[in-house]
Symmetry: C2
Subunit: 263 residues, 2 copies
């Protein structure tokens, strides 16, 4: 892989996809539900995924694609080069707000994240990272994350995870909410990882994320020192849906050990 | 009051204040805590409030000012014309994120909101409303809110309100979190009211807000049909800190009656 050349190529198709999404605001968007009533998908999610796949298949034959809408490949292992794509991360925001959603893309080789992109379409803000080459907010290089403490941290987390549930003891989450400086929720895992990478939040956690939600952001956040695991402390899952915690390295293990309590 | 002339005047000083805030990013900001460790204030909050007060006193003698930082008047009643000002609503975001905060300003006459402004400084987005004259997002007139249902609503609410507390039964809030389509939290009451007015969220609630947090947004949201009360259903409190619910009129009373349960 020539990372520099691929980086240029990817930025160009992401910007083209963003243009197509902004244009879609002028036409009717058809909305359906997937796994449950609140898990939305639109014709635009599908069209944008197909746009990426047609370009990648044409220009990078042999690469595999793991996309949210299922038009890509059936991925069961980390072999070779895999593009992990969420054409619209934050579809609920896309539908209700026409903003606060992103294109999320990660390129992995043998399970190692090489390139990561999060494109905030409406604000025309591109976050990207290259393994060993740093992370960027548009043209600005992002600094390494500075140490913090729980009591001065802002955590991105959906209030849903404070509700009693079958996954873990919600009393830990309730305690976390009380102990941190602030809780925010933006409704897009990709943007929340971009905000972690740019130091606007100090951690992001979710009980249920898919590989395409996190693949791009993990490369970007990793370049500024963030740590990403599942709730058991194992490397974040890039093959199937799992729990997820990405955080400033100075508080990652503390959140895991003190607040994410097994049921 | 010549509303048209005042509107022009206010927009001009708000833009000047925004310019001063953006410039402050280039210098050191000194941060203190107020009532508790997470209730932040900076020298910039104070300087901007003093800037507004000096202009208002000079150009509108006889008007009173009710400002978050306490440099204005001691307000105990609704008499005459009162400017309710939060120079930086969302100070925690201002400090940690350098974005997602707003100038919030409402002008009330005998307790009636005549003019309202929320200025998202970093995005240079101005929301404003004139009693009887409509609400605007920059130059775009905002539409009346369309009817919705709880199950398809996005609610802006801090996860803090899901924690057991002495104000009301948090089990109602937990049920609301489960019943709505999504929960968001942006960390600025003013911006959350602006998002309600522009239909990006369908309700915003908080257990503890001050008059300057809500005064501007209430005029704007009121112009598109939103209803704002405290948790007892009484008109939102413009004299002292209180509970607050502003919502799309089709779901306001349902949220109050079904989910905000007295302890």
């Amino acid at each position: 892989m020539d990372l520099h050349e691929m980086d240029r190529y990817i930025k160009s198709i992401i910007k083209e996809a963003g243009h197509r999404i902004r244009n879609s605001f002028l036409s009717d968007i058809s909305i359906e539900s997937k796994s449950d009533a609140d898990d939305l998908v639109t014709n635009i999610d599908k069209e944008i995924e197909q746009f990426f796949i047609s370009r990648i298949n044409r220009d990078f034959p042999g690469h595999r694609i793991y996309g949210e809408e299922g038009f890509g490949d059936d991925i069961q292992d980390h072999k070779g080069i895999i593009w992990l794509l969420d054409p619209i991360d934050g579809t609920m925001n896309f539908v209700h707000q026409k903003r606060n959603f992103a294109i999320s893309l990660g390129v992995y080789e043998e399970g190692i994240g090489k390139l990561g992109y999060i494109y905030d379409v409406v604000n025309d803000d591109l976050y990207h990272g290259v393994l060993g080459g740093g992370a960027y907010y548009n043209d600005e290089r992002l600094s390494k994350l500075k140490d913090t403490v729980i009591g001065e941290s802002i955590i991105a987390m959906n209030a849903t995870w404070a509700v009693p549930n079958s996954y873990f003891d919600h009393k830990g989450t309730l305690q976390l909410i009380q102990d941190v400086r602030g809780i925010r929720s933006y409704g897009s895992a990709a943007l929340e990882l971009a905000y972690l990478a740019s130091g606007r939040v100090d951690a992001y956690l979710s009980m249920r994320l898919s590989p395409w939600d996190i693949a791009g952001g993990m490369v970007i956040a990793g370049e500024v020192g963030a740590i990403a695991t599942n709730f058991n402390g194992a490397p974040a899952n890039l093959l199937e849906q799992d729990t997820f915690l990405a955080a400033n390295p100075s508080i990652h293990s503390q959140i895991l050990e003190k607040y994410i309590l097994p049921k």
